[in-house]
């Protein structure tokens, strides 16, 4: 990849050089010349005629760089790259001190499959400037294009010997060694390469990260022996890539330089590796890295990073760390609305709802109305989880947004006021909150629909218990409510709802019992959904045969159900007829 990039860069540079030289030529003489004609023809895609025009220019002046490079571009477009050899030879003869002409010749020999000639031209080219790596890089690139890694290694080693620089072309050599799975060699060369050019770091991670599981600890040990901090940064990146982001951060933080700019570079590189990872450990590693970056970033940028770090810690479940970070920026002047939201959220998650409400009152002057209402709902949920429904009610009393309606509906439900709850939840419709929240709201409405009673406090209490995290008790209470209702007037629907709750809480046995009890023939609208949910549960538990039986029964028993297409798809999965997605 690096080699390809180097080649492309070289080609682009040659192209630019050619155009620059051409522009100079154009300025010097007004009359149309063959090189200019060639360029026009090439620009229009008429490569055949462009070749003729460029050759006319080279007849007059064999070392006309613009014409030679134009000729090379045109011949490549015509898939005749080797045809340039006589012109390249003539250019070299006319200007033996111009290295770029050797490059043209080298690429032409490579295209004609003549490795001996490639090597010879590279050595002639190297003699022009005894400090230049380019001839060896091109020689190696030509070898790699033929998948001849031995020859490429030879090119790079020759460069080191002739240039007397043991670090020459380390990136190129490292790439070859990585492809050959010579991990010890690759560690050594990548360490050298990143010490010299830190931009190699991400390439090195990409090249090393596919290493097989069994070789990884050895690679990390080899990096551990390196003294250069840049090598240890690479080790940190690889640890993060291989599932140990916290271990990676430890290595990184132990090898951060005092120089602020270099440290920021090191941390940012690590963050690039962990940014897309999810889960508590990666989020904690992101929090640590963001906090370290915040410490080295002055002004509003630092506050923003600190806020992101706090959010990462909060997501990782480390509310204490999140609060500590936010405490450092707790004056009202420092707090942006985002920081305020994070702080209030952290306090609510910690169960300090009173503190959260107080903090929210302090923040009010700096918050726009929408953020203010959103935070009040956050606090309201805190009160719900604390079991204080009246306090929650008081938080959203003036909230007429769709999110407010959705929350008010939920609160009425917890009170057992089913009639008002259904009206409010319908009003909120699919517009409030995330897609998952909207789906959950629809499921709640489906549960309420067949129930005849306007109020059912026991149902509200059961749902509240679930919301407060006591799923076992909540499910038990819901089942008891269902027992007191006819199956076709809410009994089956509540069991289905409770079964889904039990399933999401990992209580598979309870879930299966509830779903089976919901799938009764008398509950014609509930039974297909219960059977589908039961089949999914059985399939997830590795009981494909039983799932198949349930699905067949559902499809044949309820052919008019809107869930039949979904059941058929699940049946295909249970039978292994479609790939698992």
């Amino acid at each position: 990849m690096i080699l390809l990039r180097a080649r492309r860069t070289l080609s682009a540079a040659l192209g630019l050089l050619g155009l620059a030289a051409l522009a100079h030529g154009l300025a010097a003489q007004q009359a149309p010349d063959p090189a200019r004609r060639g360029f026009e023809l090439e620009r229009r895609g008429n490569y055949g005629d462009a070749v003729g025009a460029y050759r006319d220019a080279l007849k007059k002046k064999p070392n006309d760089a613009a014409a030679l490079f134009g000729l090379e571009r045109s011949l490549i477009a015509l898939d005749r790259p080797a045809d340039i050899l006589p012109d390249a030879r003539a250019a070299i003869a006319a200007s033996p001190g111009t290295g770029a002409f050797y490059g043209v010749a080298l690429r032409a020999w490579a295209a004609s499959g003549r490795p001996d000639s490639v090597r010879a031209v590279a050595q002639q080219w190297a003699a022009v400037d005894s400090t230049d790596e380019t001839p060896y890089r091109e020689w190696g690139a030509a070898a790699l294009a033929r998948h001849d890694r031995d020859e490429a290694r030879k090119a790079y080693q020759t460069a080191r010997d002739r240039l007397h620089r043991p670090d020459a072309l380390a990136g190129e050599l490292a790439m070859v060694l990585s492809e050959e799975h010579d991990w010890a060699g690759a560690v050594r060369e990548w360490s050298t390469a990143v010490a010299k050019v830190s931009g190699y770091r991400s390439t090195a991670v990409r090249a090393l990260s596919p290493a097989p599981e069994e070789d990884r600890s050895k690679i990390l040990r080899d990096f551990g022996k390196q003294t250069a901090p840049t090598a240890r940064w690479l080790e940190a990146d690889l640890r993060a890539q291989w599932g140990d982001p916290l271990g990676g951060y430890q290595v990184l933080s132990a090898n951060l330089p005092n120089d602020r700019g270099r440290a920021v570079e090191a941390i940012s590189g690590f963050l690039d590796q962990v940014r897309d990872q999810t889960g508590p450990e990666p989020r904690r590693a992101q929090g640590l890295a963001l906090a370290a970056l915040a410490d080295r970033t002055p002004g509003p940028g630092g506050s923003q990073l600190r806020l992101e770090a706090a959010q990462a810690f909060a997501d990782a479940g480390d509310q204490a760390a999140a609060k500590r970070l936010l405490g450092g920026m707790a004056t009202a002047i420092d707090l942006t609305s985002g920081a305020g939201a994070t702080l209030v959220g952290v306090l609510v998650k910690e169960g300090k709802v009173e503190d959260a409400q107080r903090k929210l009152e302090q923040l009010k002057p700096g918050l726009v109305s929408e953020d203010w209402m959103a935070l009040r709902r956050t606090v309201a949920w805190g009160w719900v989880r604390a079991g204080k429904l009246d306090r929650a009610d008081s938080m959203i009393v003036a909230d007429s947004s769709v999110e407010g309606l959705a929350m008010a509906g939920q609160l009425r439900l917890f009170h057992g006021d089913l009639d008002s709850a259904a009206i409010l939840l319908k009003l909120a419709g699919p517009f409030a909150g995330t897609r998952d929240e909207a789906t959950a709201r629809t499921a709640t409405l489906a549960m309420l629909q067949p129930i005849q009673a306007d109020t059912l406090p026991a149902l509200g209490a059961g749902l509240l218990a679930v919301e407060r995290g006591d799923t076992a008790r909540g499910v038990q209470q819901l089942e008891k409510v269902a027992d007191g209702l006819p199956v076709d007037a809410g009994g089956a629907e509540i069991r289905l709802y409770a079964g889904r709750l039990a399933q999401s809480a990992g209580r598979t046995a309870d879930a299966e019992r509830l779903l089976r009890s919901a799938a009764v023939p008398d509950a014609k609208t509930t039974a297909p959904a219960a059977e589908l949910a039961l089949a999914q549960l059985l399939l997830d538990s590795g009981r494909a045969k039983e799932a198949t039986e349930v699905l067949e029964q559902m499809i044949l028993g309820f052919p008019e159900s809107a869930l039949v297409p979904q059941a058929r798809r699940l049946l295909d999965q249970a039978r292994g007829a479609v790939p698992q997605t």
Binding site: E180, I555, L556, P559, V564, R568, R575, P579, T581
Partner: protein
């Protein structure tokens, strides 16, 4: 007696009986199920599985060629409507009167009713390391619910093919050069595994190299067809099977496969009389270009020769005179978008004159879908890798056929699976 003679005789007898007499040959069942295969069908692919399973249960179904795009007629039993309901397949119950009308319509037009009597026993040639979802035929057999068994080189070389009526080959490289990915994918774990497995198998089976062993496998497959087997091949298997057959005694494999360079004059030394479909092809000599010869019209992996995808058109055949070709092209679409494979199409120049072209791209120098006979058996070649993944790349996610239940390309594959069920009847006539 050759297959064509049997077909001819069968058709002669049927024509002599006439429509009324032919009707008498069927039981006067209380009812029938029509499985429409035009746009009224809700799952074209599963409809083949439904018919296959009915035939497997001993029911004598019929394939109504060119009637509503190749519909099936199945005497109603208890299991078939249940099966259709579970799979979401459209079926229409018919009484004897309605069936009589259909038969009259069939008799009057370019249509025919072909009895399907015995569900063919299907084998799919799959190397042990093949990903389960990387073969269009395996995928569609799974989706349609048609049983099959997997076989590989040991079974083929130890006469295991005689147990099966139908054999499918997909992207196997019978030249033994690992699809010529050896250089471009050097170091890739799946390739290392493929090389290891094939080398070990060649050694176990007593061959000097993988290319030699694959030539042996190709010979055994050709002998299977000769004895009356049905062969259906897609993608690289089409081209490389013929190269391996014609390359007997010629070094057509590059040095990484057998430690000796390819014979630079291999093209001139090929024994095309041994091949099934192709002749006079020029072999690709460059070991790093994943192209085998100029049989393939599209040359997908050759940057300077690669041709863009168009669409291919199915030919129309006379159902009563040429039922075999008619069966193979039954479809609800006549023009189908093309799709790449390592071998995408077959250049007209390299086709043997005896080959029947089933589909081509009008005006292009290549065809897509071909059929022919060898001894008592038949072969069908279909270019391309996956009809619903036109640009298929290594590592692409598998195709989920529940998202393509009407795929006309996949229908062509399933025509081939049911076609042997029809032939058994003809052989008995």
């Amino acid at each position: 007696m050759r297959r064509r003679d049997f077909v001819g005789q069968a058709l002669g007898v049927m024509a002599a009986i006439g429509p009324a007499r032919r009707l008498l040959a069927f039981p006067r069942a209380a009812g029938w199920l029509l499985v429409p295969m035009d746009d009224a069908q809700s799952d074209h692919l599963k409809a083949y599985g439904l018919t296959y399973r009915a035939v497997q249960r001993g029911i004598r179904a019929e394939w109504l060629l060119n009637y509503r795009n190749g519909s099936f007629l199945i005497p109603a039993d208890q299991a078939t409507p249940r099966d259709a309901a579970l799979a979401g397949i459209s079926v229409q119950p018919l009484d004897d009167g309605a069936v009589l009308q259909i038969r009259a319509e069939i008799q009057a037009g370019n249509m025919d009713a072909i009895p399907l009597e015995k569900a063919p026993k299907v084998a799919v040639y799959v190397p042990p390391n093949a990903p389960p979802w990387d073969d269009a035929v395996t995928m569609v057999l799974n989706y349609a619910g048609i049983e099959f068994e997997k076989i590989w080189d040991p079974e083929v070389l130890r006469d295991g093919l005689k147990k099966y009526d139908w054999l499918h080959l997909h992207h196997e490289d019978f030249t033994g050069q690992y699809s010529k990915f050896y250089l471009n994918y050097a170091g890739a774990p799946w390739l290392l595994d493929m090389v290891k497995q094939n080398t070990a198998m060649a050694r176990t089976l007593g061959f000097a190299s993988v290319p030699e062993e694959k030539k042996g496998v190709a010979r055994a497959i050709a002998a299977y067809v000769e004895r009356g087997g049905f062969l259906f091949a897609m993608c690289t298997a089409t081209e490389t099977l013929d190269l391996a057959l014609a390359g007997q005694g010629v070094d057509i494999a590059t040095d990484y496969a057998d430690r000796t360079p390819m014979d630079p004059n291999a093209s001139a030394k090929m024994h095309w009389e041994l091949a099934l479909a192709f002749q006079n092809a020029k072999l690709e000599l460059n070991p790093s270009v994943p192209v085998f010869s100029d049989i393939d019209g599209h040359q997908v992996n050759s940057l300077d020769r690669r041709q863009p995808l168009g669409s291919f058109t199915l030919f129309n055949f006379s159902a009563k005179i040429d039922p075999v070709a008619t069966m193979l092209v039954q479809n609800h679409r006549q023009v189908i978008p093309d799709f790449y494979g390592l071998t995408t199409s077959f250049t007209r120049r390299t086709l043997k004159p005896s080959v029947t072209i089933l589909a081509d791209e009008p005006g292009a120098p290549w065809v897509k879908y071909i059929h022919g006979e060898r001894g008592q058996g038949t072969w069908t070649f279909f270019g391309g890798h996956d009809p619903e993944d036109p640009q298929h790349q290594i590592g692409d996610p598998p195709t989920d056929l529940s998202l393509h239940p009407h795929s006309p390309g996949y229908r062509l594959i399933l025509n081939n699976v049911l076609f042997p069920a029809a032939k058994k009847k003809e052989l008995k006539t």
